[in-house]
């Protein structure tokens, strides 16, 4: 079942098109990723789908509710984790979450009840009464996610949720996202400019200058736009070069190895020539290559 349907969505700021007629669908329960560099239109799209920004043109339906017409219904089913923290630094975690809950018309008990399924996993007990500005970066992000879950949303929008976090905190955030997806079947709509974060997505849409340049599963995108590589460590020689070119003509020698770009399955070939090809590594095409080939730009990894 389609939980988000977007048709020709456009956002203009005077004459500048921040989002240029994009169309896509998101299935219920899937993890959907928007990939693009800064200014590609990722956050603008999320802000339109969460009713923060008004669309200029196009249509969108969130859980069947029309954007621009049934915004209040949409707000009830959305949860959003912003790029930057938007909770009040001087208030405790408890005060922050209880006041945010009240914006949805929830009482203290209702907030506690709706957060109950997540509290233990998110280790809220330890930080419940602590002031938000006294928390570490990872703890703050944890609270930001809890805030987004306060209204038991059907869709969780995550706008570059790990930007600025250290590797340990990034991993923790991803553990939480996996938990929400796998244990609670939540639909995750993610924007990121980190390639590795799209690896587990069910579908990826690549945005460039407000337009969708490609979409598909990570595997589909990689097979379409990225090439695998065989790195063969051996001294340079005519005989070795001849063998390397049997795999692919796209082959260069670099310091101490041949870099052979290929889409073929090389397992059999390597096995046949195991007496010569003794030190090697096989690298599958990555999302970095996909993005580079599609936009001509490199992203953060």
């Amino acid at each position: 079942m389609k939980i988000i349907e977007v048709k020709n969505l456009t956002k203009m700021y005077r004459k500048f098109k921040a989002v240029d007629g994009i169309s896509f669908d998101v299935e219920e329960g899937e993890m959907f990723a928007f990939l693009g560099e800064n200014g590609a239109g990722k956050s603008t799209t999320i802000n339109m789908l969460t009713t923060i920004l008004e669309k200029t043109e196009g249509e969108a339906y969130i859980c069947g509710h029309a954007l621009g017409k049934e915004d209040d219904e949409i707000r009830k089913v959305n949860g959003i984790v912003f790029q930057n923290s938007v909770l009040d630094k001087m208030l405790s975690v408890k005060d922050n979450l209880l006041t945010r809950g009240s914006y949805y018309g929830l009482s203290r008990k209702e907030v506690e009840k709706s957060l109950e399924p997540f509290s233990e996993r998110f280790e809220m007990k330890d930080i419940w009464n602590r002031r938000y500005d006294k928390l570490s970066g990872g703890q703050r992000r944890r609270v930001d996610i809890m805030r987004a879950l306060i209204n038991n949303p059907k869709i969780l929008f995550l706008d570059e949720p790990t930007t600025g976090l250290d590797p340990k905190s990034r991993k923790l955030v991803w553990d939480y996202i996996d938990f929400l997806r796998k244990e609670h079947g939540m639909t995750i709509f993610l924007t990121t400019h980190y390639m590795e974060e799209t690896r587990d997505a069910d579908r990826v849409v690549i945005l460039d200058k407000g337009r969708i340049v490609s979409s598909g599963t990570p595997a589909e995108l990689k097979s379409r736009y990225a090439h695998s590589k065989l790195i063969w460590y051996t001294p340079r020689s005519e005989k070795a070069e001849e063998l390397a070119k049997q795999i692919s003509e796209t082959c260069v020698y670099d310091v101490d190895h041949y870099n052979i770009s290929t889409d073929k399955n090389v397992t059999e070939f390597v096995f046949e020539h195991r007496d010569q090809i003794t030190d090697y590594e096989y690298i599958k095409g990555s999302m970095d290559d996909v993005f580079l080939n599609l936009t001509g730009k490199e992203l953060a990894s």
């Binding site: 802000n47 969460t50 009713t51 923060i52 920004l53 008004e54 209040d72 707000r75 009830k76 959305n78 959003i80 912003f82 930057n84 938007v86 909770l87 009040d88 001087m90 208030l91 005060d95 209880l98 006041t99 945010r100 809950g101 009240s102 914006y103 949805y104 018309g105 929830l106 009482s107 209204n151």
Partner: protein
């Protein structure tokens, strides 16, 4: 209603949890108090004695002290009516700058409730703080002597704090629309807190200024409220002084000090009566509230 109450509670918590913000919001009032202890009291007492030549032996010096203390309290209240709502309303600019408004707009909380809640929370903050100052001030004054204040006057004084809080908040809601960053709104606060004491006549009575300056100062509701609260706080003690003179001067002394300490707001050479000041402040507040609702609705729709 839960959403509106919740957002208002959040705005109140933000002000009351930030001890430094509370201190800065009362800075002008503190400065007025310190200057009073240093030299303002002496200046005011001298000004009064200058007016009562020939009556020095009749008028009790303790009454003069109480009168001047009341002037001080009205000055502290008047300046707080400017600085407290402004500090509280800076949350709007901070929210805009930090993207908190996006978080709020992504919830079912209606836009008009957001605007009204900022307004309500600042008015409540200002009313709480000024009422607290008024209460503490009255308690201190009552320990120093008889303040001659009836229940009706007392209630009117708190009523004026409410009117002053609402009208100042409405004015600053409009002014804060122009600030996109906390840096600029804080810079403006510096100017505002320096000017507040002069605008309401806490440092120098407004009667000492030219008619043009007086008219300008009396545009602001806080100046009217200061004059009104001065009337309420000091009418009892003024009557006592007048009765101790036993009509020897046909009330000239009291009229003279009322003129000197601007018991009535004035603009373009005419004095406002008490009721005229209340009407002016009420209309001023209503116009600002209407402007605020229109302007903020447009701001949110422009997104």
């Amino acid at each position: 209603m839960k959403d509106f109450m919740g957002f208002t509670r959040r705005n109140l918590l933000i002000y009351f949890k930030d001890k430094l913000a509370i201190l800065f919001s009362l800075l002008t009032s503190i400065i007025v108090f310190v200057l009073y202890l240093l030299f303002l009291k002496g200046t005011f007492v001298e000004a009064m004695k200058g007016t009562m030549r020939g009556l020095e032996n009749i008028v009790n010096s303790g009454d003069i002290d109480m009168f001047v203390n009341g002037i001080l309290l009205s000055g502290i209240l008047g300046s707080a009516l400017i600085t407290v709502p402004y500090t509280c309303l800076q949350t709007i600019v901070k929210d805009r700058e930090a993207g908190v408004d996006s978080d709020i707009c992504a919830t079912p909380l209606k836009r008009w409730k957001i605007i009204l809640s900022y307004f309500a929370s600042s008015s409540i903050c200002s009313f709480i703080m000024t009422s607290l100052i008024l209460t503490v001030g009255l308690v201190v004054l009552s320990f120093m002597g008889d303040i001659h204040l009836g229940i009706a006057s007392l209630l009117s004084a708190y009523g004026l704090m409410l009117l002053g809080s609402v009208s100042s908040t409405a004015l600053f809601m409009l002014i804060l629309l122009f600030f996109k960053s906390t840096a600029t709104s804080t810079a403006f606060f510096g100017i505002l807190s320096a000017a507040a004491g002069f605008v309401i006549g806490a440092y120098i009575p407004l009667s000492q200024f030219s008619d043009g300056v007086r008219s300008f100062c009396n545009i602001f509701p806080a100046s009217h409220i200061t004059s009104l609260i001065r009337n309420i706080l000091l009418s009892g003690i003024a009557e006592k002084i007048d009765s101790s003179i036993c009509g020897l001067d046909n009330g000239a002394f009291i009229e003279a000090i009322k003129d000197t300490f601007s018991f009535n707001a004035s603009a373009f050479g005419s004095n406002f009566s008490g009721i005229q000041s209340v009407i002016y402040v009420s209309i001023f507040a209503l116009v600002c509230i209407a402007g605020m609702v229109i302007a903020y609705n447009r701001t949110y729709k422009r997104r």
